[in-house]
């Protein structure tokens, strides 16, 4: 796999990532790169290892071996917090929202804004509500009040909350695992608009999607995974949906 032509503007490189669960080898040495300011798509059949790779990048799984390089420096991403510290935000496929908590609590759980001194820290509820409200309305989806519980939101609203949360931290990389899989036509269009806006603001987006039209529409670069490996990469301007399908199924060699 040659990375020489992309080395200059590469923001993230994952090399030879392996991860096993018991006897199941989910990743067998997958390597991908992401370029700065681009939407990079990750496609592949179910069980190809896309979600496992994403979970390694977002700190939920610790890779068994392999290196992750961010802006030229090798980093250890051994916890979700570590990933966030390195500027990697993720919209998990299951959204990772706590249904019993309110929208603003979900925004800030794990990195709350507090006020007070020393051990006497209390939550700055107003600051968190205000910031969550600002970030959400920036998405321009039918905005739920930030004080409502996530349990009461529609699928699209939940997606909006999860995306606004990931997009709101001024991070350099946002990973989205099938962000529109459960959405209707209008909501999908809104989410795609958000992805474009993120890209315009200089964020590198890693998009996992089963929708080839969407991949060709949004992404500039696409990686194809099969059997725990990233087997092929294409510029979306130089490929077609048919070729991607062939690469995914293995009908076409790299």
């Amino acid at each position: 796999m040659t990375t020489t032509d992309t080395a200059i503007d590469t923001v993230l490189t994952a090399e030879n990532i392996t991860k096993s669960f018991g006897g199941v080898h989910a990743l067998k040495g997958a390597s991908i790169t992401m370029r700065r300011g681009e939407v990079t798509a990750l496609i592949g059949d179910n069980g190809a290892g896309k979600s496992t790779l994403v979970r390694c990048l977002s700190g939920i799984h610790k890779p068994d071996s392999g290196t992750i390089t961010l802006d030229g420096a090798v980093v250890q991403i051994d916890s979700p917090l570590a990933a966030k510290h390195h500027g990697i935000e993720t919209v998990q496929q299951n959204l990772a929202l706590v249904e019993d908590l309110t929208v603003w609590q979900n925004f800030f759980v794990g990195r709350e804004i507090t006020k007070g001194v020393g051990p006497f820290q209390m939550l700055d509820r107003k600051a968190m509500r205000d910031k969550a409200s600002t970030l959400l309305s920036g998405l321009a989806v039918n905005v739920p009040p930030v004080t409502s519980r996530v349990r009461r939101l529609s699928g699209g609203q939940r997606q909006a909350v999860a995306i606004a949360r990931a997009a709101g931290w001024g991070s350099s990389i946002v990973i989205m695992d099938e962000p529109t899989a459960a959405l209707g036509v209008q909501e999908t269009a809104r989410v795609e608009a958000v992805i474009r806006r993120l890209q315009d603001s200089g964020v590198a987006v890693l998009l996992i999607s089963h929708n080839f039209d969407q991949v060709l529409r949004l992404a500039q670069h696409v990686w194809v995974m099969r059997g725990g490996l990233a087997v092929a990469q294409r510029r979306t301007s130089e490929t077609t949906g048919d070729e991607l399908v062939a690469l995914i199924t293995g009908a076409q060699a790299v």
Partner: protein, 332 residues
Amino acid sequence: MNTMTAQPVAAPPVPRKVAASLSEAKHLSFWAENAAPVGLIVLVVVFSVLSPTFLTVGNITAMLVAAAILVVLAVAQSFVITTGGIDLSISATMTIGAVGLGLAYQAGLPFWPSAIIAILASTVIGVINGLLIAKGKVTDFIATLGTLGVATGAALILTDGKPIAVTSTELLRLTTGKLGFVPYPFVLAAIVGAVAWFVMFRTRYGLHVQAVGGSEEAAVANGVKAPRVRIAVYVWAAALAGLASLLLVARIGAAEPAINTNYLLNSIAAVVLGGVSLTGGRAKIVGPILGALLLTALSNGLTLLAVSQFYQPLAVGLVVVLAALLTRFQKR
């Protein structure tokens, strides 16, 4: 509506139509959310009508003293249950605290160092619970059932099964002192409740407790250290049980290695009455405190009415089951 005000606890099992309309579901959800305060008010009204002594200052003071231990235990249990766990060892942990206090006092230590030893002795059980559950991945039910047995046995072994008299002036002041008509034990319980409310709803730790109980997976993905949160919840619950042991020894005047199963069941019952779901995620502090007051008022009232002791567990059991049925109608 009026019939429900009279008997809110009995309301849900008798919906007129099985096909409950939406409006009635909304209606029921109100009772489900407020089972403890409504039930408490109803009990107070009923008992004060039936017994002239129920609402006297003397009896209210007696009830508050009696409720203090259960309030502290219910608050502790509420934290554990919010994480989706349960602490079956909580009353045995209190017994260990009492025994620790008794042994330290017997060995000649002054009251306050003995009290600290009591709380530390209880906390040890909490640390074991937390490690078993969060690190050992033992189911909360089994882990705390195990420590329930161990703590009960240890209390009997350490004391040879005999109560240790503790007659310190500090303890006497704790039992007999009052702030206005509010006895010191209840003042202590109220402070515990207020601090617990603040911790649960105004601090990072409380938010993490709720997040872990709501969805551990989502909480972890957002950077919450779930094992730590779980360990801490059991440690705090045990420390509170240690605090309750001071009240227990103060009340009896001796450290008894008795099993106190009633306190365990009532602490869970108070939390359920308070509208907390055993599946976790939805925190409540005031509800369980009111639940503890309700259970205390119930047994006090029945005693005043000269109802046989034998009927009291029956009454508690019925109230808890009705409350549990009611929670099905809670707004989610």
